[in-house]
Amino acid sequence: MRVLPYDIPDKLYYSKEHEWVRIEGKEAVVGITDYAQKQLHEIVYVEVQKVGANLEQSQTMGTVESVKSVSDIFAPVSGKITKVNDELVESPEVLNQDPYGKGWLARINLKNFNKDMKKLLTAQKYTDYIKEMEE
C-alpha cells in the first residue's frame, strides 16, 4: 500500500478543492490542506474575505498565492465568517509550516452543516481521492 507524503489528520473533513474543516461546536475552523500547501509551495500572499461575510459552500472565500501561481480558496462550508487569521497577512509562510494549526484561515458560524457534509470527504476518502488524482 502506497503511503502519501501528505499529512491528512483523521478528525477533519475535506473538500475536493483541498480545504479542511474542523468542527468546534456551532463553528467550523477552515484552512487549506497539507497537499494544497505542498502543491503551491512557498506561499507569499493570502487574502480571506472579511469578518461578517456570508459564504455559501464552494463559493470563493479568498485567494492564496505562491511566487508563480494564484489559487482561489473555496468555502468548504456555508455560514458567516466570525474570525479571520490576521497573522497570515504578515506571515503567509505559516500556511506552509503549519497548515492545520497556525495556518488556519477563518472561523465560520455554521448555517447548515448537515447539508454541507454531503459534499465533504472523510480523511480516508480524501486520501483515496488524492491517490486517484496522482495516478
Partner: protein, 378 residues
C-alpha cells in the same frame, strides 16, 4: 498525456530532484529546492540553470554580417570576434519578432541564441531572409547543451573546471575552453542581472548526454562550497523580472516595438536598411504613445499579467509580468502605460481582483544596484 514533450540532456537529473513543468514544448524543472531559495542563491552567491531548451542557430558565410545587420536592429559591424550583444529582430511594422543574444564566433561565423517559444518561427524567419545573402543557416539546438552559471561567485565556481582564464573574459565577451575536460564555449552573459556565464557544451547531441551531464555535475560539485543551487524556470523568471529584463510573449511581442519596450539602445537607426527600420524611424519621429515601466507595490498584493493599471479613476495601462520579488519582499511588475503617466515616482493603482491597490512607477532594475547585480560594489 497527449503530446510528447521534449527533454534536455539533464532530464533524469531534473526528474529526480525538481518539480517539473511544460514550457515551450519541453519538460523542464520549475524548481528544485524552491523559487525563493534558488533566487537568493543567485543574488548572494551562485546558481546554475539548464537552458538547453533555448534555440541556437549558426550563421556562416562571407555575407553573415550584412545579413544579420539586415535582419536585426543592433549594429552587427560593431561586434568583434568573441564578443556578444543583446538585440531584436522586428517585422516590417517594427513589432518585435524576438529578442536574443548574438555572438560573433569568427569574422564570418555567428551564433544566435533565441527564445525557446520562438524556435520554429525564428529559424524559418532566418532561413527565409537569408536567401539573397547566400549564407548558411544551421539550427544546432539539438547538438549543444546550454547552461547558465549566474551570481557574484559564478566566475569563482566555473574557474575551477575551466582551462581558460575566465577573469580575462569581460562582460559580453566569449571564449573557448574545456570545462571538466569537455570542449565548451562560454559567454559572460545572462538573464538574471548578475555577473555570470552562459555555457555551451559543444558537440553534445541530446541522444548522447554524457558530456553535458558531466559538465553539469562538475559545476554543481565545484560550486558546493559556495552554496550553489540548481535553479529552475521559476527563479529564472523572478530573477529576470527583478533585473527589468523582458520575457518574450509577456512583455514584448509582434505588437510592441523596441522603442515602446525601452529597448531603443539596441535599435541603430543610423545603420543601412534593416527590417522594421522605416516603421521605427517613423515612430521615433512621431513619439511613442505608451512605454514599458516598472511598478513596485506599496500595499500587500501581487500584480499579475493582465491586471489593469489605473490613475485618477482612469485606466492607463496593463501589467505584462508580475511576481513577488524575493529581494524586495513585495509585489513587482512590468506594465505598459500611456506616456503622460510613465514618469518615475508617479503613484498609480493596480486593479487586483477588483481592488485598486497602490503602486509606484520605478526604474529598472528593481533592486539597489550597489547591493545586487553585476555592477554591485564588491
Amino acid at each position: 498525456m497527449g503530446k510528447q514533450l521534449k527533454k534536455t540532456h539533464l532530464y533524469e537529473f531534473h526528474k529526480q530532484t525538481a518539480k517539473m513543468t511544460e514550457f515551450a514544448g519541453f519538460e523542464m524543472p520549475i524548481w528544485y529546492k524552491g523559487i525563493i531559495a534558488e533566487h537568493m542563491a543567485v543574488r548572494r552567491s551562485v546558481g546554475v540553470f539548464d537552458i538547453t531548451h533555448m534555440g541556437r542557430t549558426l550563421i556562416t558565410g562571407a555575407k553573415s554580417e550584412a545579413f544579420l545587420n539586415y535582419i536585426t536592429t543592433n549594429d552587427v559591424a560593431a561586434l568583434t570576434p568573441l564578443s556578444a550583444h543583446y538585440s531584436n529582430m522586428c517585422n516590417e511594422q517594427g513589432g518585435i519578432k524576438d529578442d536574443f543574444v548574438l555572438s560573433r564566433l569568427e569574422e564570418e561565423k555567428f551564433l544566435i541564441v533565441y527564445n525557446a517559444t520562438n524556435r520554429t518561427k525564428d529559424y524559418e524567419w532566418l532561413v527565409k531572409n537569408a536567401k539573397p545573402f547566400n549564407v548558411k543557416v544551421e539550427d544546432v539546438s539539438g547538438n549543444i547543451a546550454m547552461f547558465a552559471v549566474q551570481g557574484p561567485n559564478a566566475q569563482k565556481a566555473l574557474q575551477k573546471i575551466a582551462d581558460l582564464d575566465l577573469s580575462k573574459i569581460e562582460r559580453f565577451k566569449c571564449g573557448w575552453t574545456k570545462l571538466a575536460g569537455v570542449e565548451s564555449f562560454v559567454s559572460r552573459t545572462g538573464y538574471t542581472g548578475e555577473d555570470g556565464f552562459e555555457v555551451f557544451v559543444w558537440n553534445s547531441p541530446i541522444e548522447n548526454p554524457a558530456n553535458a551531464v558531466k559538465v553539469w555535475r562538475a559545476i554543481l560539485q565545484v560550486g558546493e562550497e559556495l552554496g550553489i543551487e540548481p535553479c529552475g524556470l521559476g527563479a529564472r523568471d523572478t530573477l529576470r523580472l527583478e533585473a527589468g529584463m523582458c520575457l518574450y510573449g509577456n512583455d514584448i511581442d509582434e505588437t510592441t516595438t523596441p522603442l515602446e519596450a525601452g529597448l531603443s539602445f539596441v535599435v541603430k537607426l543610423k545603420k543601412d536598411a534593416f527590417i522594421g527600420k522605416d516603421a521605427l524611424t517613423k515612430q521615433k519621429a512621431e513619439g511613442i504613445k505608451r512605454k514599458r515601466v516598472g511598478l513596485t507595490m506599496l500595499e500587500k498584493g501581487i500584480p499579475r499579467p493582465g491586471h489593469e493599471v489605473w490613475k485618477n479613476s482612469e485606466k492607463i495601462g496593463h501589467i505584462t509580468s508580475g511576481t513577488f520579488s524575493p529581494v524586495l519582499e513585495r509585489g513587482i511588475a512590468m506594465a505598459y502605460v500611456s506616456m503622460q503617466h510613465s514618469t518615475e515616482g508617479n503613484a498609480v493603482e493596480v486593479k487586483i481582483r477588483d481592488k485598486l491597490t497602490e503602486a509606484q512607477i520605478v526604474k529598472f532594475p528593481f533592486y539597489e544596484t550597489t547591493k545586487y547585480g553585476y555592477a554591485r560594489q564588491k
